[in-house]
């Protein structure tokens, strides 16, 4: 795979998708999940999923996070659709941007694994082009898993946290 320039890889995937004649494409590989649609009214990752296997070039894997500590160099093959427990809620990225676990550098994270949250609890920041959005848990429960690492580039709709009922 060509993981040197994740953005270029993501761009290439988008270009290929545009000319592929496909209406929708939903691919995931490692931490990265991409949903593309030609329909302007598509509802993103909440839409009925049409699974399309990742291109053989492994372009999607290359689009994984740019943070140095990220697992973007993991083999692109066989990243199975991960199954979340029935009762799990996912907190997803509102848009493509940089994921921050703390309100500012050096501060403690908004939440740690095991923390109890309510729907209004802020769990992270996502920043794109200087616009910071505080993301809320959206549900009551306990943080079971953090799926992205601090400073990582996340795509729109990418799962960031798994919340389980208490």
């Amino acid at each position: 795979m060509s993981g040197n320039d994740p953005l270029a890889d993501l761009e290439r995937l988008i270009e290929e998708f545009k000319h592929s004649g496909l209406r929708e494409l939903h691919a995931r590989c490692g931490d990265l999940e991409v949903y593309l649609s030609q329909e302007s009214g598509a509802s993103g990752l909440d839409a009925p999923r049409v699974s399309v296997s990742a291109p053989a070039s492994g372009a999607v894997a290359g689009a994984a996070p740019v943070a140095p500590a990220s697992p973007s160099d993991a083999p692109p093959a066989a990243a199975p659709e991960r199954d979340w427990p029935e009762n799990a809620s996912l907190v997803r990225a509102p848009y493509l941007g940089t994921f921050y676990r703390a309100p500012k550098p050096g501060s403690p994270p908004y939440v740690e694994i095991g923390a109890s949250v309510s729907a209004d609890t802020e769990v992270c920041l996502v920043e794109v082009m200087k616009l910071f959005t505080a993301v809320r848990a959206g549900t009551e429960g306990r943080v079971a898993e953090v799926l992205a690492s601090d400073g990582e580039l996340v795509s729109a709709g990418q799962p960031l946290f798994v919340i389980l009922p208490e």
Binding site: D5, L7, A8, E11, I14, E15, V66, P68, Y95, L96, G97, T98, P103, K104, V128, M129, K130, L131, G151, L153
Partner: protein
């Protein structure tokens, strides 16, 4: 001490703008870019390109040591910081000086002094520049209350280290002052690591007017007229124009004089802008701050004066002095600029990175585009969302508005949403046309009218 090889420590349209000014002066150019910008237009056109680091700005454009090292390693004798990023960080100017590189900007101490709004106010007061009635540092909520009673409500609490609207709170009445003080102080502390506040009288319907200056550092200062930047969203300028036709001639002359006096009194070196509030009701101007850099909206001043401000900036940095005297600067016609951002007006202006698949800018008489975008260009998610500035020049304000509407109507962009529809709407609005606007007009009136129309 003329310059020979310039390091461009920025990206986007301003990197390209600086590159072209440098080329016009026959300077060699080296650009330091992030990995995300390695194929950008400025990177392609520079004599040499160095990749500073990965996309996130903290590891590339915002790393002063890295930037200066790159400038040194590539044999540059001067460095232009553009705007944003490190342009007003004293640290960069200091590092340049330590390494024998000419910084295209003021001295480090001057950047520090002007960056501290309280010190800048003191300088302005010393030069006899009118200030909005206000205070020095406020020690406590009780102190704030006493000062506010003195100034008269509404008042504006501001962070001494502030900018961009952060740490700014409007207080309308005495019973809000304590909560307002604590909120502004907390915001200032979070944003700038400094909770120091001061207070000003709040002018509800003010226009933002600013004077373009260039100083040679030896006491010579020339102004290039004023700009009116009253169309703002969240304290960010959206549309800028020159001159400010809403201001009577006598007041404009007073404005220019105040700005020039201030810059002369501190022997200012570099292009810079003195910002003022224009209280239309009272017919008064109040100093806000000095921006010690070339600004985004400098092209409107270039269009009405026919002068190249970035070349002037390079000349004074190199010790050659200004190419013009005040008498040479003659204002002609009217210019308007709109900032085209990759943002979605239908989703509360959320910035949208992506790839520009179609880019057909308008061309023609009196039309200028400052942009680094071409078809196929990528807009990385790491930096601000501005992808270009469309500027028009015409004989009158009315003619300029018409020309800009026509130009925007012909501007074709695909791949990312842009703020072009917003500009078209503002320019077609009757309040804008008749110039009855103020800095909160866009959000308070135009957007509110849109919401009502949508319901």
């Amino acid at each position: 001490m003329a310059l020979s090889r310039l390091f461009i420590a920025n990206r986007g349209e301003i990197a390209l703008r600086v590159l072209r000014a440098a080329q016009a002066l026959n300077l060699e150019t080296v650009i330091g870019v992030s990995d995300a910008d390695r194929d950008s237009m400025a990177a392609r056109l520079a004599d040499r390109r160095l990749v500073l680091g990965p996309g996130p700005a903290a590891k590339s454009y915002l790393d002063a040591r890295l930037v200066v090292q790159a400038a040194r390693a590539s044999g540059c004798d001067a460095l232009h910081p553009g705007y944003g990023f490190l342009s007003e960080r004293a640290e960069l100017a200091r590092l340049c000086a330590e390494h024998g590189i000419t910084f295209v900007g003021p001295e480090a101490d001057m950047i520090e002094a002007l960056g501290d709004k309280l010190r800048a106010r003191e300088m302005a007061a010393a030069a006899g520049v009118p200030l909005v009635p206000g205070s020095g540092e406020i020690a406590s909520a009780a102190d704030a209350r006493r000062i506010a009673d003195d100034i008269g409500y509404p008042v504006l609490l501001k962070a001494a280290a502030g900018g961009g609207g952060r740490g700014m709170v409007i207080v309308n009445a005495p019973d809000e002052i304590e909560a307002g003080f604590h909120r502004a102080s907390a915001e200032a502390l979070a944003a700038f690591n400094d909770g120091t506040l001061f207070m000003e009288r709040f002018v509800p319907e003010a226009r933002h007017v600013e004077v373009q200056l260039v100083g040679d550092g030896k006491g010579q200062v020339v102004h290039f007229g004023e700009r009116d930047c009253s169309v703002q969203r969240r304290y960010q300028k959206v549309i800028e124009e020159a001159p400010c036709v809403a201001m009577p001639g006598t007041l404009r002359a007073k404005l220019h004089e105040a700005a020039v006096n201030l810059a002369k009194s501190v022997h200012y070196r570099n292009a810079g802008t003195a910002e003022f509030l224009y209280d239309v009701m009272r017919g008064e101007i109040y100093f806000i701050e000095v921006n010690a850099r070339i600004q985004v909206e400098h092209p409107v001043s270039e269009m009405v004066t026919g002068r190249d401000l970035v070349q002037e900036q390079l000349r004074v940095a190199g010790g050659e002095g200004l190419s013009v005297t005040q008498d040479d600067v003659v204002l002609t016609g009217h210019a308007i600029e709109c900032r085209i951002n990759a943002e979605d007006p239908n989703r509360d202006f959320v910035p949208v990175p992506g790839t520009v698949t179609r880019w057909r800018p308008p061309e023609g008489e009196g039309i200028r585009l400052d942009s680094h975008i071409r078809e196929g260009a990528s807009i990385p998610p790491f930096y601000d969302s501005m992808i270009g500035k469309l500027i028009v020049h015409a004989e009158t304000r009315d003619a300029a508005i018409d020309r800009l509407i026509g130009a925007l109507d012909r501007f074709e962009v695909e791949g990312v949403p842009t703020t072009i529809p917003l500009h078209r709407e503002v320019l077609r609005d009757e309040h804008f046309r008749t110039n009855r606007i103020h800095t909160r007009w866009l959000e308070q009136d135009l957007f509110a009218a849109q919401r009502m129309a949508a319901e």
